[in-house]
């Protein structure tokens, strides 16, 4: 066991720190759930990519740096430490990208990955349907093979950033006689095709972060299929694995929130200590964020050495999502009567972005597989408890 960074890792940290210091916008970008904010974030992705910092874990020939998972942690630590913008194309670069590398043809990789890396093509997900949420195998949207294309009919929902995105990836039922997770196919769909209607759904903050996508005889070329026809579930599980796992929610994000919570507590201690549970909650935030970081490094080292991510990765999603909720609840408690004010309200003072974070934290235990589903997976696959 060696818990120190190598010279190369330290040099890598210095390099990204220097680049971010020179390039991160001084003023925070607008929300990427607004037209202008989306444009700003897309431009930021292009800038990141111009420094070859867009997708550091991707291979060099695809515009990445071939970083291993420890370097990925270092990148994320510096990125969050610098307060750099959220990744508008996270569904593409963190979820679809790795899946494409595993299941895509050479042509698909060449076609999709570079434009994903520059932010030229922003991706959204097409999993959930009105009748298929946690029960993803209940998908009913159809893709019927006709000659050199699929004809898609149906409806997807809760597609984050679909209002502005260029492409959607999702699962469609190609075998009408199939049931459950059989007969599903993973298809990449450009959102500008005839027959597609995207209807925005305002989220808790009032902005159209979600959308429904309606498909009415949409013709998609066969080469937009990822993996084999009828084997979409397997491909999708790879994506879900990445999502739950190391890429989407690296510890740095929560360590920064915990550090901000410590600062908030220290700055408001006289008032905060009127509630004797606050100090405990602040310390717990730090400890849990630290535990998430330590555990992630342990996993990353194991994977770097050729190990596989296992069912224990289902614990990851529960841990960070509930940590995020507790931290934001604690912060609002410290802010007291000011907590309900949006930062732009004239009397908001220095409330910061806690309220926005609090709202977003509510979604963490739902997206990427509701925590109840994660607990089922842990019980049945990790602990070996019997299935009904």
């Amino acid at each position: 066991m060696e818990l120190a960074y190598t010279d190369k890792q330290q040099a890598f940290r210095r390099e990204i720190r220097t680049w971010l210091a020179a390039n991160v916008p001084a003023e925070p970008l607008q929300s990427f759930d607004t037209a202008e904010g989306f444009r700003q974030h897309r431009a930021w992705e292009a800038k990141l990519n111009s420094g070859r910092w867009g997708m550091v874990t991707w291979p060099e020939e695809l515009g990445g740096r071939g970083c291993d998972l420890i370097e990925w942690q270092i990148f994320e630590e510096e990125y969050w430490r610098a307060g750099a913008p959220l990744r508008v194309n996270q569904n593409g670069i963190f979820l679809l990208g790795p899946t494409l590398m595993e299941y895509g043809t050479a042509e698909q990789k060449r076609r999709f990955l570079p434009k994903m890396a520059t932010g030229e093509e922003v991706w959204c997900q097409g999993w959930s349907e009105p009748g298929a949420g946690s029960d993803m195998a209940a998908i009913r949207s159809r893709a019927e093979r006709q000659g050199d294309h699929y004809v898609i009919n149906g409806q997807k929902t809760w597609s984050t950033r679909a209002v502005w995105a260029d492409w959607c990836f999702g699962m469609f039922r190609t075998d009408p006689a199939s049931e459950r997770h059989h007969g599903l196919t993973f298809i990449l769909v450009p959102l500008n095709l005839e027959g597609i209607t995207v209807r925005p759904i305002p989220q808790l903050d009032g902005l159209p972060g979600f959308a429904e996508i309606f498909f009415d005889n949409v013709k998609v070329p066969l080469d937009c299929r990822l993996g084999e026809e009828g084997k979409g579930w397997k491909v999708a599980m790879a994506t879900a694995g990445f999502e739950r796992g190391l890429m989407l929610r690296s510890p740095a994000r929560f360590q920064q929130t915990a550090a901000r919570l410590v600062q908030l507590y220290r700055a408001n201690r006289a008032s905060a200590d009127r509630d004797p549970t606050v100090r405990e909650a602040v310390l717990r935030a730090w400890m849990d964020a630290e535990a998430y970081c330590l555990t992630t490094y342990q996993t990353a080292c194991r994977l770097n050495a050729g190990g596989k991510i296992g069912e224990e990765s289902s614990t990851n999603k529960i841990f960070w999502s509930e940590l995020d909720q507790r931290m934001h609840e604690t912060a609002l408690g410290i802010l007291g009567a000011r907590a309900e004010l949006w930062p732009h309200a004239p009397d908001a003072g220095d409330v910061g972005t806690w309220l926005d974070g609090f709202l977003f934290a509510q979604s963490g235990s739902i997206y990427a597989g509701a925590n109840e589903i994660q607990r089922n997976i842990i019980a049945q696959r990790m602990l070996g408890m019997p299935r009904a």
Partner: protein, 349 residues
């Protein structure tokens, strides 16, 4: 950066696990409850035969010269079987204190005997006024203010205090500090006492990981066998989620314990906060494991007959051993709430 144990360390862990699971059975533990000392000379000889009593002791004193990192995985296995013998107190806490107290004659006198399995050590700190296993210890390492004293058992008077865990034997120790028993004072004394606390808390935390896993295993097995409403109770989501919550707690307590072992092994400046974090996290996992495992056992979980209580009681007593919750939370607070605290992304290593 390589946050992994070596293949040798994992192999040693498996060897020790196989031995402990075969030898330290619930039946043997229950049998020991009925004996005057609650301890087995035969088992201690077996542990010595595996090299465990000399694991952290230098080769020049007849030990294996291994580190806390080698020991921590074994301590997890000792927790898994709820080993009653004072192996952790002797090997992870006591022996390294003798080795580093600066008294070479004392170290030369005792460490070879400890390594050979011929002597046991007990450690008493002010944060826990009663001393575990003082009755079988040959030498007691006792706190007196900011001094550490080494006192042979013949020179102390013991008063037994019965406690929750029938395997745990606690004693009030009456003794008289003297210049001849003092092995470290002042700054050296405080350093040694700090090391004792860190090592004891690390050992408790590692045991809690093993205890948690054992209680999960027992409860999961029970939910497969026990049928209600015509099916195994483990099929019910409410029951599954009780155990899933324990698994989550355990999963995120492991790395902090391993990090703490690393920091203790390297005398890292931040060992105190690493150990306290590990102790809090592992203890909470074990407490939740006890609570939820009893719950899924139903009324059986509230009986003396089911083995679960062997492990639950160890978890409950370790929670406040080697520093209670308040002590460890204060040590975390001292670090995290300090003006110059190094926290946030990138500050972990």
């Amino acid at each position: 950066m390589d946050f992994r144990f070596s293949d040798d360390q994992r192999l040693f862990q498996r060897t020790v696990r196989e031995f402990l699971v075969a030898e330290v059975t619930p039946e043997r533990i229950r049998a020991a409850w009925q004996t005057p000392t609650g301890r087995s000379d035969e088992l201690w000889s077996q542990l010595a035969g595996l090299g465990l009593t000399g694991l952290t002791i230098a080769e020049e004193h007849g030990g294996l010269g291994m580190s806390e990192l080698d020991f921590v995985l074994l301590a997890e296995e000792m927790g898994y079987v709820a080993l009653p013998e004072p192996l952790i107190d002797t090997v992870l806490v006591g022996a390294p204190l003798l080795a580093r107290c600066g008294n070479a004659a004392l170290a030369s006198e005792w460490l070879p005997r400890v390594a050979a399995g011929d002597a046991k050590l007990a450690v008493g700190l002010a944060c826990h006024p009663l001393v575990a296993d003082a009755h079988v210890a040959d030498l007691l390492l006792l706190q007196h203010g900011d001094e550490m004293h080494a006192v042979p058992r013949a020179e102390v008077t013991l008063t037994a205090n019965e406690c929750l865990d029938p395997s745990r034997r606690l004693f009030r120790v009456d003794w008289t500090p003297s210049a001849s028993t003092c092995i470290a004072a002042g700054a050296a004394g405080r350093a040694l006492l700090g090391a004792a606390l860190d090592r004891g808390a690390l050992g408790a935390a590692a045991q809690c990981l093993g205890l948690t896993q054992r209680m999960i295993d027992l409860a999961v097995a029970y939910t497969r066998d026990r049928k209600q409403f015509g099916q195994a109770i483990g099929t019910f989501q409410a029951v599954q989620h009780l155990m899933a919550n324990v698994a989550v707690k355990l999963e995120y307590a492991k790395a902090p314990v391993h990090r703490a072992a690393h920091d203790v092994a390297h005398d890292a400046a931040r060992a105190a906060v690493s150990v306290s974090h590990a102790k809090i996290a592992a203890s909470e996992a074990a407490l939740l494991a006890a609570r939820n495992s009893i719950q899924v056992h139903g009324a059986m979980g509230y009986t003396w007959e089911v083995d679960l209580h062997i492990f639950a009681k160890r978890a409950w007593t370790l929670d406040n051993a080697w520093g209670d919750r308040a002590l460890h939370k204060l040590r975390v607070a001292d670090c995290v709430l300090a003006d110059d605290a190094a926290i946030g992304a990138g500050a972990t290593f």
